[in-house]
Symmetry: D3
């Protein structure tokens, strides 16, 4: 590539805390020879994606941003994968990755049945629909909610609740791999994994990693 | 009910022809003692829902309309069921029916495997996702596209193409019941059914019928 | 229609209490301009459909009744949907609706995972088979039995057991919508719904509502 | 066992030709030290099970016969497995095997996707329901009908049509193992297998074989 | 058959205790007029199949043994069904049955949802993969581990743990039929069945029974 | 990392041509700052993985190699993913990726229904089992065989056959994304994609890309 490629990771909510948590989580994927990874938030987005309306409200802004931005690839950093297919249309062939999609697919290779730590009962229902839509519900152990807003998930106080939710998924639902169901939970991945002694997947890292690969491979 | 109940049927596209086709199709469901059935189009909607962006672009306008309208029940008269869950949130407990949802569920009771007559390959992919999301893909024979815009489907010239598509679903995909995959196709239901000799479901009629029932039953 | 259309709702068991519970539940669907709705019981039917033999024993009597009766549509008001396909053959094209079928389909539009309040462990096994046969087991949270006969379900004393069963489906099986698994439970629908704070579906109402629509739409 | 055990194989239709075809097919399973195998037809049964009513009409006669007969195990030799669960109730713990059930399960071990040679389009729809009810539709390639009555299937003239149907299932539906969908087709198994060069399962043999085993193992 | 047919049942592990348990369990299937049933152990096999490597390590030895042995049919008596398809290739058309495969298929005819008593969490994961591979996961209630090695399962001390595991599958997972997930558990089948009051399937018996039938039927 | 990390990509067959095709395909993934990517062939492996025995015969050699090699991550570059779980046990926590697994998962994000270009009918059956085992058969359109050995797939003469197979999957099976079912086909990816105008996935690239990410992320 003549110029350095750039991946734009968009946090569809406007929370600075969540955006920073995402940015930090991507540090290991920033290679000198690899694409630039820029994390940004949708300033007009809601403070967190809680309702279905929240998720749907960011679709057109995301698509418009992607259309006018000359980044080489995009990652939608909200576990609802809001507007994934519309954004793909807007991207004109440039790769667009959803974090739920890639968090779940990565989990399929680390255990037999995945569980999801969800923000709320409403997110659980969205996850149930999405897992069925992806056609992977035969591997789905279930979701457990921590009853939090996205913006709170990055706080240290959240860690124990995430561990409790992860342990519940393993013990009561038979999950043997757990996916963090919000981009804001990224900083807790390792602690939850060590506490529950099963693999824990941080989804934004997975989506960005695949976006990098897609750029590297695009001319081959 | 002290005042007569009202069902608002919203055509999310702005096509007058489609709106009129819907209105005509609902005549048999207008009972003197039953709820009033009003059909309206989303004036700012696209002329047809072709892309995923088209579908997603109407979600907030639909939700806002529903929130401010005092109708007693709502039907979203586009086979993509755009924004169904967001509109339900906006309706505050009032019934909201999607026509794809109800066209497909009705078909489940009329045969073993349903096929869908789609507008285009892009609609087929949306239908594949939606059928999986509904969890009824074990009954899905497939979709066939007539390669038309919604606004054209009401025209007499379309009839032969719909019949050909329906026959293809029966003969090549093993469908034994066929669903019309666009509200604009309503006037052709009977002709297609007679030509292919298998039940053909007009989805808006089904969704409105269930909306009527939901109103009748809401206090019981 | 020159004469007023008539829907015959047949309770396949001979219980007068269940038949009356059904009749009462249908009051809201009786419109002056709509079809007449007649509820009758199969006098030679068992007092309740408990065993698989009970269910199978009513098939030919139901089919014969439907064949000789000139009603315009039929509803089989037993949650086993006994003989649904044979009765359809006998009806010669007139609509025949099963209450399990329609109770479950309606539930699909009110939540992500439905549970069923069953009479007994034997009914649970029939429900498991039927849900698989319908191809909607990906949405099925499970059934819980109240260990009662159909004829007892209409009694006030049953209400607390239904509520406990519904709450169990929500809390332990992850159901977010509940279907009453016996026509006799109809009078408790609202109380259970209010107690468990999730939608509760009374299946006979749903099947009759669709029968009405089918009649209204039959010439369109 | 003090007396020799006896397996009663009941052909639910009244066709003598089908009954004889079944009887001949079971010759290899008649061991001097094994259970006696008696094949009988339901004299009041229809000449063939064509409609759903045909299938349902034999349930009570089969259950009553099984209840009063002191045979040690039973096989229902019609590919609709009519009344399987009711007959099991009547058998009071004695084994009851269905031929569809065992023909299909055996096929699961001989290929990845099974096809069924059906009598008619109506039998295909029953098979689709039954395969879903068994929960093995993920392995089902489809059915093809020869448009014949059960009583005709034993005739030499049928062989070419069975071969054509089997070849169609392999070539067009991707079946790699084929099940004969009527007990009367038994005498053609080998010829079809040799012609299509894929395993062909005769279902009555399979069901009787498992009935023998169940008797041998019942006290262990 | 000119000479008496012989079925070779191979215990892929080298445990004498397990081999003896298998041999005893097959006594009822040894008929004077039927095939000879020989049980042997793979001497170079591991003492038990605990890891996936254990399972994979026996594939080539099993295939080589089958290739050079002139037995008429083979049963692989380990619940991992190790190398089933490779052994089938080696058998050159002679029947090869896996015990997991046949234990599970038999269970499908004795209840609606089967559970498996597993040796360990690692076996549970293999079972989850295998049940999905068989395409019968819609009928799978789950597995529970007794945390034992195969060689220990035949001991009297194991009985109570098997009963506890079986009861757990029924009570907590909704299983209504239970499969013993190790050939070594054979002697406990009846005791577990009586304790949990649901059918319990011993898988080696089922696989051998079908091997017998396959031999009896091979020339028909 | 103190020393540069290394990914060992093992071609389980001994074909030099296939190994070279793999090596070339990975060029875009070799970053100066990223892990070293070494491609090697299993010298004692068969010339191609054609039979199930071929696939199973390489499991222990692969596991032993992985155990004694100090590479940081491994990719099994055969579309049968032979011994994936045993190799994972041997790797002691180091990442092990299968190319079928990752080729298929990547395809899930590029279309609704994936097809696979297979070497032979025997590979198709392995793919059918594997897709079911992965639990993604709801997205599987089917496989088409080019009837070739792995070692031949890299030849220019193969290109037209791959294009024909890919076009067949799109046109006749309804695939909208195609996966190359052999590592040796890598050099044809782009040509097939351009010819059939649907995304074509080269699976080894995908698996190696994820191995790179797993290494980058392992301490986060």
């Amino acid at each position: 590539m003549s110029r350095r490629a750039r991946i734009l990771v968009i946090n569809p909510n406007s929370s600075v805390a969540v955006t920073e948590a995402i940015d930090t989580a991507l540090t290991p994927l920033r290679l000198s020879a690899g694409p630039e990874i820029v994390v940004a938030r949708l300033e007009q987005g809601p403070i967190g994606i809680a309702s279905q309306r929240d998720a749907d409200s960011v679709i057109l802004p995301l698509a418009d941003w992607v259309k006018r931005d000359d980044a080489d690839a995009f990652v939608l950093a909200c576990f609802s994968d809001p507007g994934l297919h519309t954004v793909r249309e807007a991207a004109g062939g440039r790769p667009v990755m959803g974090i739920a999609e890639w968090g779940l697919l990565r989990a399929l290779t680390m255990g037999e049945r995945f569980g999801i730590i969800a923000l709320s009962p409403a997110s659980i229902r969205r996850q149930q629909r999405y897992v069925r839509q992806m056609g992977i519900d035969g591997r789905y152990a279930g979701s457990t909610a921590v009853d939090a807003m996205a913006a709170d998930t990055a706080s240290p106080a959240m860690r124990d609740r995430l561990i409790a939710a992860g342990a519940c998924l393993v013990r009561e639902r038979g999950a043997d791999v757990v996916v963090l169901g919000c981009a804001g939970m990224a900083s807790h991945r390792r602690a939850v994994e060590e506490a529950i002694r099963r693999p824990v997947v941080e989804p934004t890292q997975q989506a960005v990693a695949v976006a990098i690969s897609a750029l590297l491979l695009k001319d081959s």
